[in-house]
Amino acid sequence: MNKPLLLISLTLLAVFVLSVLFVPNFSFFSNKISNHYIYHSLEETKAPNVVGGVVWDYRAYDTLGEETVLFAATLGVYMLFKKLHVRDKK
């Protein structure tokens, strides 16, 4: 048995179990920020659709990451079906 590997995995297991045990209640951290979104979204983003305001204004970087994921998925499907993967040349 690999001893340091066992030690690392046991430490990680302990950390995860402890973090699950001491997790705070739901909306302990996010209650303030969600109330702020609901009550101040119209005057800050000028968009009546709160979801649109959050997605494209407050969390625009998250949306940019989503579009990047979509772009990467498109590229992957294109390469998979066009058989563009790199082959060894003989």
Binding site: K46, N49, G52, W56, D57, L64, L70, T74, V77, F81
Partner: protein, 132 residues
């Protein structure tokens, strides 16, 4: 495909196109937005491709064209998101709420994101259809 499907899809297609443009451009007012409207826009092209065949769908939008449009839309969206804080006040500036021409940078990014989602789904569908 049969005559029934061809007739029904010929009637339904313009309404799908119109509804997708409505969902995209009213993304900051009503439920929906760039992603949902883009998927609708892509599915209207996919409907034509399924019913009338690949050639009729390529009359609407070719694969190389959708590649180019997606690349340009992705670059534009990245630039808009990065510099959103600086151009938010000057883009589509309007004091009136609940209007189409309002909302700062949100409608512009909805339109560009919708175009990008639509073209990427069209690319996925075309590359699956054309596979040999």
């Amino acid at each position: 495909m049969t005559v029934i499907k061809q007739t029904i899809s010929r009637i339904v297609f313009p309404f799908m196109l119109l509804f997708s443009i409505y969902v995209i451009t009213h993304g900051h007012l009503t439920p929906g937005g760039g992603f949902q409207g883009g998927v609708l826009l892509a599915s209207s092209v996919i409907l034509i491709c399924l019913v009338y065949g690949l050639r009729k769908a390529e009359h609407l939008i070719r694969e190389e064209t959708s590649h180019r449009i997606e690349a340009v839309a992705g670059i534009l969206l990245a630039v808009l998101v990065v510099f959103e804080f600086f151009i938010k006040g000057s883009l589509m500036a309007s004091e009136s709420l609940f209007q189409v021409w309002s909302g700062g940078a949100i409608p512009v990014m909805n339109v560009i994101g919708g175009i990008m989602v639509a073209t990427s789904f069209i690319i996925i569908f075309y590359s699956m259809v054309k596979e040999k």
